[in-house]
Subunit: 144 residues, 2 copies
DNA sequence: TCTTGACTCTATAGTAGATATAGACATTAA
DNA sequence: TTAATGTCTATATCTACTATAGAGTCAAGA
């Protein structure tokens, strides 16, 4: 199949497929006489694997490692466990951080009582770094 | 004060301060004879405002708007309320998405029972887009 | 056969929000 | 005077793509 059909089947954009090829995630496919890329079932599966990993928020570098592992005849897979575990930790940290952020933003929203600039508590609050719990949190995390 | 001192006081990197200047968030400061940037208290406050907003996850474009508003002699501030509200919605959506992702990754982790590649359930699961609830979710969100 | 339109090709630049680097100049302390 | 440190500009790099320009390919209709 040509690149357009592959894109259609997988839901991946044409430019993104070419980009993955350039990045070495997909092998360079065969070409027609007219220089069009030609893909097979294997290529489709590989692309779907990549997209699946991307939906799980993995970086291309991580996916590259996983693909290299898949391409190797044998090997131990315990590092994959570690990779996923590390990934979960990162996601957890993000959730925590965003949850704190949301709380703080909600508090911020309640600050705005006025309709004119001089009365806008949001601007006032944003100007006051000293008494912001979120910034406190942030400092804690960045220094620890 | 010179740029190094400002960086020290605010916790913002020197290169980032120069970057904010280039982006028009900070005004071009005065210079010494030797062409060094010189900052005052006002500049520090403005930078802290920017950093405060950044810690709240705002985009530079949004911060630019807020700064422009601060710089204006008067005006109505109800759009700020809307901006923060929209921002909260985005944060909420991110939290939801990441929470679903974490659940799915945790399930994925339990798949790996083996120590050899052939037995690694993680790789197997990642190859199987069809039966992945997270991918299902993802498709729902992207088509809706 | 010609032409039109859809598809594909390469190469380059742009996005956000910085960070990294190179090479030159300024300042300060010993 | 010299060495170390601070600062300057300009350019490149990062991630994961997206957008654009200009050219070539291919199939169907007039």
């Amino acid at each position: 199949m040509k690149i357009g059909e592959l894109a259609e089947k997988t839901g991946c954009r044409i430019v993104t497929i070419r980009y993955y090829e350039k990045e070495g995630l997909l092998a360079e496919p065969e070409r027609t006489e007219g220089n069009y890329r030609i893909y097979g079932k294997k290529d489709q599966e590989r692309l779907e694997f990549i997209m699946h990993c991307r939906r799980h928020g993995m970086k291309l570098s991580e996916i590259r490692e996983l693909l290299a592992f898949k391409d190797t005849p044998q090997g131990s897979c315990d590092w994959i466990d570690a990779l996923i575990e590390k990934h979960i930790d990162e996601v957890s940290a993000q959730i925590d951080s965003l949850t704190r952020l949301k709380k703080q933003l909600t508090r911020l929203l309640r600050q705005c009582s006025g309709v004119k600039k001089e009365e806008c508590g949001i601007i006032k609050s944003l100007s006051d770094v000293e008494h912001c719990p979120h910034c406190e949190d942030f400092r804690c995390r960045s220094s620890g």
